[in-house]
Symmetry: C2
Subunit: 356 residues, 2 copies
């Protein structure tokens, strides 16, 4: 039984079709012992969403949205994406045999562009404001009969809930818990919080974890609003960060997220590019997990928060690792990465100098 | 219970350490209905090994080899790799806190090089014959106290067996079955066959599946020997193929593999670069799976074999998908991939022309 079937009672899916699935979900939950020791952290875990068909958590939402499309007889789907969601939608669209439209940001990495293109969607690389494009897509969808399953699509958020249900079942007992996740449009974190709300409604959990949404300082409208105690975010004009996957200047889920975070005493914070790249390097070097800069915001946020507040040894911390670093290989802290060129004939000599 | 624990009785591991694991195994098994219809195939499945920590089957072998290192008190590990095995060894070495040496081929893609480098190994990019480097590494390992867990390492092959055990458990009944897998050094296919031999010894299966190993024509010493009815392969001097991950000109497991394949009436065949790139495109476009060219040899082999022999409707076919296409993004059949550049202001016009 897969994860969607297991949690079907919580999802708006009357039927799950094996031929629309690609093996999403049931992702690993890893204890990060080396990090815990090095940074004096309580129990810390990675919920590793890289283990999804297109190596990001977006697949969780795409699979439910594609099911919704199928149930309604919709044959054309689309998405607006910085990359990951476009790849995911292209892959599931191919699997489902649906005509798929992917609107992708102009500065998207070539790895992401080709990873979407390989599935044969109609692929548009668009020059213009990403926030405005998001709104424009719905108008275009209406004109051309395309269901744009964008970041905060209701069915997409239902799929993100499943990550929360799995975390709940992978934690063996109920203790105060922090869940750190990157924030862009807001859909992902809304889904995670919704999962715990529903578990609470069913009497399955008593305490909602403390959710910590992390944005990149170069595009952090929600974190700025949170810090200023505002109920609504203000869109930002310019975005500039290494965390390219989380750069929505006008996040459609922003205000709902601010409301939910206030209700559950969560936190929205931001981190700098330097903190992000350091966190990305640390989790790769110490724990063997190579994630996107955007995903590394979770660890960057944790390390930053730790400087302000002491965690209790009884606390448990979960980092949601949202996507694979190989999809944006150029953005890395390579300061400590050394590639030694050697010839086979001189290999002994080279090795002698390296192991001295 | 994870896959290693479930099959521990079949493995030479007295203990499984959670802090050496990265979530490997229990990979999806997907029915490929669109392909079956389009190519008139019997039940065909993908065993998708992309769902591993570093997005290739190599992790199956690395995790067992790293356990063996730990059990023996070995602190330095290494590997010789075209890329995937280097990434895998670097990631597990990081997780285990072991000093890790990666010898990587000079022409390895930048995606693979950085994906290994990010984990902080000592990374050597080596100019010279890959087959000779393989042998040289053991001498260097002896000199410097490094356990080189190369492609046909005995513990590595034990890990590959687990893929075979999972296929066995994911198939719901025993029927004649073909298992297609890419072949380079031979270790992977030896592991798969060993799994079924052991299942047979335990009385758990009665028929060993027909194993079909597929090489790229540009480096196919084992397939050439098989076609000529030879007991031993002859090393090739020059390798030239898009399937860069399976280019061992002097495959150390070659002769053992030839023997096992003869004993179980399997097949070793080769496919052209054109067949490989077409297969890679087909499985991405029809089933939403983006695999490496090397991995696409499995489907290329199936489609080629189908022209020579008719499959029975009762047959079942399994394609082992060994690694993710995103790790070598430049090698793709882009002939049908169209990227439409558009500006936000002209989007309506562009869409009108595309959906006419």
């Amino acid at each position: 039984m897969n994860s969607l079937e297991r949690y079907q009672d919580f999802l708006p899916l009357s039927q799950i079709h094996p031929n629309l699935l690609l093996g999403e979900g049931d992702t690993p939950f890893l204890r990060l012992e080396t990090l815990m020791e090095e940074f004096d952290l309580p129990d810390t875990f990675a919920k590793n969403e890289i283990f999804n068909p297109t190596a990001s958590f977006k697949d969780r939402g795409t699979v439910t949205a594609v099911h919704a499309a199928k149930a309604s007889g919709i044959e054309r789907i689309g998405t607006v994406s910085t990359g990951n969601m476009g790849i995911s939608t292209a892959a599931y669209g191919a699997r489902a045999g649906m005509k798929t439209f992917v609107f992708i940001k102009k500065d998207t990495s070539i790895e992401k562009l080709f990873s979407a293109g390989v599935h044969g969607p109609i692929l548009l690389r668009i020059d213009g404001d990403y926030g405005k494009l998001w709104h424009e897509s719905f108008r275009i969808g209406k004109d051309h009969g395309i269901y744009f399953m964008n970041s905060t699509d209701a069915f997409r958020i239902e799929g993100y809930k499943v990550i929360g249900f799995e975390i709940f079942s992978q934690l063996s007992s109920e203790r105060p818990t922090y869940i750190f996740a990157p924030v862009s449009s807001g859909g992902h974190l809304i889904g995670l919080m919704k999962a715990y709300r529903e578990l609470q409604q069913q009497g399955l959990v008593h305490h909602i974890p403390t959710f910590v949404g992390v944005q990149a300082q170069g595009c952090s409208p929600i974190a700025q609003a949170f810090a200023a105690g505002m109920l609504k975010y203000e869109r930002v004009d310019k975005t500039e960060t290494v965390a390219q996957s989380i750069t929505n200047p006008d996040p459609p889920g922003g205000n709902i997220l601010l409301k939910m975070i206030r209700e559950h005493e969560g936190i929205i914070m931001d981190v700098t590019d330097e903190e992000i790249l350091t966190a990305q390097r640390i989790i790769a070097e110490r724990e063997g997990i190579f994630c996107l800069p955007a995903s590394a915001t979770a660890l960057a946020g944790l390390l930053k928060l730790q400087k302000k507040q002491k965690f209790d040894p009884q606390d448990r911390i979960i980092l949601v690792i949202t996507g694979s670093g190989v999809k944006n290989i150029k953005v890395l802290d390579k300061s400590r990465m050394k590639i030694h060129d050697a010839s086979l004939s001189e290999l002994s000599k080279t090795m002698a100098s390296l192991t001295e």
